[in-house]
Amino acid sequence: MLTRRIIPCLDVKDGRVVKGVRFVELRDAGDPVEQARAYGRAGADEVCFLDISASLEKRGTLVALVERVARELAIPFAVGGGVRTVADAEALLRAGADKVSLNTAALADPALLTGVARLTGSQSALVAIDAKRRPDGSYEVYSHGGTRPTGRDAVAWAREAVDRGAGEILLTSIDRDGTGAGFELELTSAIARAVPVPVIASGGAGTPGHFADAFGAGASAALAATVFHFGSLSVASVKEACAGRGFPMRWPLEDVA
């Protein structure tokens, strides 16, 4: 049986980690490669890099970074942020990224997902969906980093994205993101039931139990940034708690890292 995955997310700006965990052993805490490797040693199943560079010129540094990560990291990694075209995605995949995440650009042109899936297979085409709860209990998709409502229903968009070629969904609750109040379980469950591809729950992690709750709602993986960066949770403590709740995990640490 596939184990449930724990995925730390690193925000990268101009080739440097913006918010980084304070791993004491790191010589350069701003180096994304060192950060990712430290997460690998800590038992992370995968790492996600989110590029938040403001300018296009600075984005050039991302491809060079991905090449370095691909050589140095012995676990898979995804890259997202500002991927606009199939050519952007191809450059990242050629540089060694296992998955490329598409968000705003895929909403504007869903055929982009098909184009990326054709490059190396749907397992490399990750669609990131940022959703916010409506008063009627349904969920609306937002674009542009969660700032613009699109009028699209999250479940309908998830289905379409998968039909177009997306092989995995990174699902972020805008309402929960950064709150530490737990993942949005109803949203997670609605999307996980609607599509056959894995769903990565994101937004709201605060305690180890929250991760287990997300898995209980049908998530294949759960992603978090803040709790890991600021050291309030370790990957190990999260995995131990989830294993204790009966979810299959890649665990214990001495077997895996």
């Binding site: 184990t3 012995a74 054709r118 056959p196 894995p198 993986a221």
Partner: protein
């Protein structure tokens, strides 16, 4: 240093495979010509792409005859992911496509009803003693990312991953020819261990 010839089909980044070989104690040498592969000490065929594209590149390179020549000298050969799938007779991705037919069996889409793509980590169960496995058939943690699987005969299957009741052939082998459906270069310690065992297999006789 155990030299290993890595087949470059021009299908993307080989940096992670090359570096994983170095971590496992080997010396990777990229090859884009059939002659280099035919006389190699040992060969790894990596690849992340669709079956049809992989076979187009493999045919253009003359990979089938090159691998047959290497195997005839007793050289160990390891196909990884798509590199494993193309070792079989045919695949059904983008229509029915002929494979290298170095192993009997077909490559088919993972049936509906389970999660597809099959993405993530699982512990392999060895079904026979394998030169790539640890003594005592110790389970190994492996990272998968595939929508297709090799339907290999039982006698070739050395380890399987049980995907919610659907068996995925994870390691296949016959004499010195091996294939792994997962990505050892992405499978942390378990992947490194498997690569190290492959690298320690006796090299093929000199060409």
């Amino acid at each position: 240093m155990n030299r290993v010839t890595v087949v470059d089909l021009g299908l993307g980044n080989l940096g992670s495979v090359q570096k994983a070989i170095v971590r496992a104690g080997g010396e990777p040498v990229l090859a884009t010509h059939a002659e280099e592969i035919a006389r190699a000490e040992r060969v790894i065929v990596p690849g992340v792409a669709a079956f049809g594209l992989g076979m187009e590149r493999a045919s253009a390179l003359g990979l089938r005859d090159a691998l047959r020549a290497a195997l005839a000298r007793g050289a160990p050969v390891l196909g990884i992911c798509l590199g494993m799938q193309i070792l079989f007779e045919e695949g059904e991705e983008d229509g029915i496509r002929k494979g290298l037919a170095l192993l009997p069996g077909r490559v088919t889409r993972i049936p509906d009803g389970v999660q597809v793509p099959h993405i993530g980590w699982q512990k392999l169960a060895w079904t026979s003693d394998s030169a790539l496995g640890q003594p005592g058939r110790k389970p190994l943690w492996a990272y998968f990312a595939n929508s297709y699987r090799c339907e290999a005969p039982g006698e070739l299957t050395q380890a399987i991953a049980d995907h919610s009741g659907v068996p995925i052939a994870a390691v296949v082998g016959r004499e010195t020819l091996f294939g792994v459906q997962f990505h050892p270069e992405k499978s942390a310690k378990g992947g490194e261990d498997l690569l190290a065992r492959f690298l320690r297999l006796p090299a093929g006789a000199r060409a």
